[in-house]
């Protein structure tokens, strides 16, 4: 199949590299609905833009493979989230050494929307940087729990099921993450 001269999008990259054909319209719709959320989720889980973007791409490749296999999940959103969590786990396990060879690639503004509400606007640039640094310094488990519980809004039970943790362990990780991040926020004030 010939590649067009236009700038290839992630969709077309996935399409060309993995599927070898056009994605069905309903998958395009699922992609549009969940792409931003999954990319953001992977970036937060891995606290790295490049790694997160690659993990997110893997997620949508798996979505195509799932669709081709003829097995459709009841809810694509939940399925994609779980696959994203697993993809981030796999990537973290296999790619620890990548930390040493991280280079500074060109800054590219994301096509993701960056909505900031009034509360976030109250946070200064320095505070935001400090919070992100503190978040990146949390343990992977604490990051995952914080993201799923506080940002994705999942109930404790579902977070535990997704991460293979007891509910008590989920609360403990969240407790530590919240305390640490609040300490950082307050120290920057």
């Amino acid at each position: 199949m010939e590649r067009t001269a236009t700038q290839p999008s992630i969709e077309s990259e996935i399409e060309f590299a993995q599927a070898g054909g056009g994605a069905p319209p309903e998958l395009d719709e699922i992609y549009r609905q969940h792409h931003q959320r999954i990319v953001r989720l992977c970036r937060m889980m891995l606290s790295d833009a490049d790694e997160g973007d690659e993990a997110a791409q893997e997620v949508f490749v798996r979505m195509l493979a799932q669709r081709r296999g003829g097995v459709e999940p009841a809810q694509w959103g939940a399925w994609l989230t779980r696959v994203a969590i697993n993809a981030c786990h796999d990537r973290r396990r296999s790619g620890w050494w990548k930390w040493w060879r991280r280079d500074g690639r060109e800054l590219v503004d994301s096509d993701l929307t960056t909505h900031r509400d009034a509360e976030e606007e109250a946070i200064t640039h320095e505070q935001g940087a400090a919070i992100w640094r503190g978040f990146s310094a949390l343990s992977p488990r604490q990051r995952e729990v914080f993201v799923l519980r506080q940002i994705e809004g999942w109930p404790t039970r579902e977070v535990g099921a997704a991460l293979n943790l007891t509910e008590q362990a989920v609360k403990l990780h969240l407790f530590r993450a919240v305390r640490r991040l609040r300490e950082i926020l307050r120290s920057e004030r």
């Binding site: 937060m44 991280r102 800054l107 994301s110 929307t113 960056t114 992100w132 919240v178």
Partner: protein
Amino acid sequence: MNACLNEKELTRLFVSDAVEMPAARAHIAECAACAARYEELAREARMIAGTIASTAASRAMLREYSTAKRADAGRRIERAPAGAAGWFAGATAFGAAAAIAAMLALGWRPAKSMRVASARPAAKTAPVAYARDQAERMTFDPISAIAYDEGGSAAIGSGDAIFTSYSGGDDGNLLFCAPDDESGMCAPAAGNRG
């Protein structure tokens, strides 16, 4: 009415499910100060979550913050106490010892006689000849041994074989003269043999 909740209890309450810690929830319902502190905690948690989410959504912001993180990590390494360097040195030495032990366990043994090649000639009684030999070695320039054919390709002579490592011609193929090959460019008359 129970005593006011400390920060730890407030955070525990925040991460708990709605049906948990009924006594603390009852206290919050009655105590305006604790309710305000709890509301402040929840507001800060929302701010933090929102900041993290919007940072992750912005590639540029992520990059900037991550760069700052690496710079900060570099400063921490610079400030690392001498004990850390000692720890790393010890770990390295231990690793080397473990590697040698593993090699020995796998059957590796050092050779019984290990002769180290020497550049010095055997005849120490001929210092003039030795000096001349060394002078020749030092002035030998491999580039000067490159012979150029008419097409512009260069051949580097090395013992019995001649490799052409660069070709200024159109084809740019790697050429090779076998020891007994005296045809074409490898003919002695072509001047490609050293």
